[in-house]
């Protein structure tokens, strides 16, 4: 067993895990934050994307012990307060989801994209940047629209609603 000290969505945790535990397992099974999903286990689908120290990470690819001391944001902690983060609102407004399974990873990747590339994202950039996130329901068209709209909506609101992460 190893002890991982980790801050998730602003809350500190000290969690005992076996060494092979993945970050996504710590998040889902130890902290019971089940909005982060596992779709493939092979780093392809992107349903497990979270932010680790402000960078998007596929949490099925990172050992929990590697996240010792890190600040993690999951989909549950993206919005500040009871409202929606602009990217979440854009996904709803533009029908950027159907079954919802890939959506948390899509939204976390999209916010990371804005953090790195700015608020004016053209369609080609968005499509290329979403290479690591797979959806099987929507055909991506509305996801791309949602990301572009969400990026613009984030303008002036700081990099993310949780700017302190």
């Amino acid at each position: 067993m190893a002890t991982v000290n980790i801050t998730v969505n602003g809350k500190s945790h000290s969690v005992d895990v076996s060494p092979e535990t993945l970050l996504v397992e710590l998040i889902r099974e130890k902290l019971r934050l089940t909005g982060t999903h596992v779709g493939c286990d092979t780093s392809q689908c992107g349903a497990c994307v979270v932010h680790v120290d402000s960078a998007a990470v596929k949490s099925c690819t990172m050992l929990a012990v590697s996240a010792d001391g890190a600040k993690v944001t999951t989909i549950e902690g993206l919005a500040s307060g009871a409202g929606l983060h602009p990217m979440q609102a854009a996904f709803r407004e533009h029908h950027g989801l159907q079954c919802g399974f890939c959506t948390p990873g899509m939204i976390m990747s999209a916010v990371d994209m804005v953090n790195r590339k700015g608020n004016e994202l053209d369609e080609r950039t968005i499509r290329e940047e979403l290479e690591g996130n797979i959806c099987r329901c929507t055909g991506y068209h509305n996801i791309v629209k949602a990301v572009g709209a969400g990026a613009r909506a984030m303008k002036g609101g700081g990099k993310t609603a949780r700017a302190a992460e």
Binding site: E20, T34, G35, E93, G100, F101, C102, I134
Partner: protein, 311 residues
């Protein structure tokens, strides 16, 4: 929006929980005291099972039970059914081979279930599964549907000679023949129905729970039709009377038809809870944590996927 809503975009009620990470998919559910399951699967497309030795696996840390096809057959749990019977042109019923939820004496596809390991954690179950020793007698396989009826092709089910389950004809043969006979041009072509892989983002998962007080079972699974699942698992597979079986389909992460079927893993999950011996071994605890990428190679048609995973 107009008074009727016609032509207007309507916001979906379910989006709020999906975009905030508060959806409730099957694998998000955790029941107190649940044990985790991992299947030992066949690496061969076609083989006899000579022996399944579970002794070493049973001694591994955290292991609660290791169950085999013989255990399942011993408890008289029926096999999976085909829900749509098709008769041949001569009127004979289709010749569907038995499909036990855990293979008994023969495996018929890569990934066929051969044994089930139950342990306190999934990691323990997976480690123990590596200790299950299965002795196979490897048989020739046939993987191209067009070659399944060739002379000398491997025979998959004894009840279906030439690997032919039915020979289905539809329409008026005499009229069709006459139309072709009088046609100015006749073009012949073979039409191959493409392979279907409806890979939803959410892998399949099942959690089963036995309620001792009511002597009833509950199954949470990734299902597009829980009512049919209850009917089939009750009336055809014989797990429990319908009023003693509840099937709950929470949020489903895509299905595209693949989650209409009844799969072996959910049957086995229920059985592991319901079977008296297994329940005794497990202290009647709930059982959960199955999680698979769906779809098995359906040997009867070129329809299905062999992309599967265990968590």
């Amino acid at each position: 929006m107009s008074a009727t809503g016609i032509g207007a975009a309507v916001r979906r009620k379910e989006d709020q929980r999906f975009i905030t990470g508060t959806g409730n998919y099957t694998s998000d559910i955790s029941r107190p005291g649940e044990v985790r399951a991992y299947f030992v699967r066949s690496p061969h497309a076609h083989a006899t099972i000579k022996k399944v030795d579970t002794k070493a696996a049973e001694k591994m840390p955290g292991v609660v039970a290791v169950l085999t096809g013989a255990d399942l057959a011993g408890d008289k749990i029926g096999g999976l059914i085909c829900g749509w019977a098709v008769s041949s042109k001569d009127g004979s019923p289709m010749k569907a081979g038995a499909h036990p939820a855990i293979a008994v004496d023969k495996v018929r596809c890569v990934g066929d279930q051969v044994a089930l390991v139950l342990a306190e954690t999934l990691g323990q179950a997976r480690d123990a599964a590596e200790k299950v020793k299965v002795e196979y007698g490897v048989l020739p396989s046939v993987v191209d549907p067009a070659k399944t009826q060739a002379s000398g092709a491997p025979q998959i089910h004894d009840v279906a000679p030439n690997n032919t389950i039915y020979d289905w004809h539809l329409g008026d043969k005499a009229a069709t023949d006459a139309a072709f006979a009088s046609a100015k041009h006749v073009t012949k072509l073979d039409i191959v129905n493409n392979r279907l892989v409806p890979n939803a983002m959410e892998p399949r998962a099942a959690i089963a729970e036995y309620d001792q007080g009511n002597d009833s079972l509950t199954l949470w699974n990734t299902s597009q039709n829980p009512h049919v699942a209850r009917l089939v698992i009750s009336a055809f597979i014989g797990m429990a009377p319908e009023h003693k079986l509840r099937v709950i389909a929470p949020d489903v992460g895509g299905g595209f038809g693949s989650k209409i079927f009844i799969y072996p893993e959910e049957v086995v999950a229920l059985w592991a809870c319901a079977a008296r011996e297994a329940a005794g071994e497990m202290g009647l605890g709930p059982f959960g944590g199955l999680s698979h990428r769906c779809a098995w190679p359906r040997s009867r048609h070129a329809c299905g996927a062999c992309d599967r995973r265990q968590p």
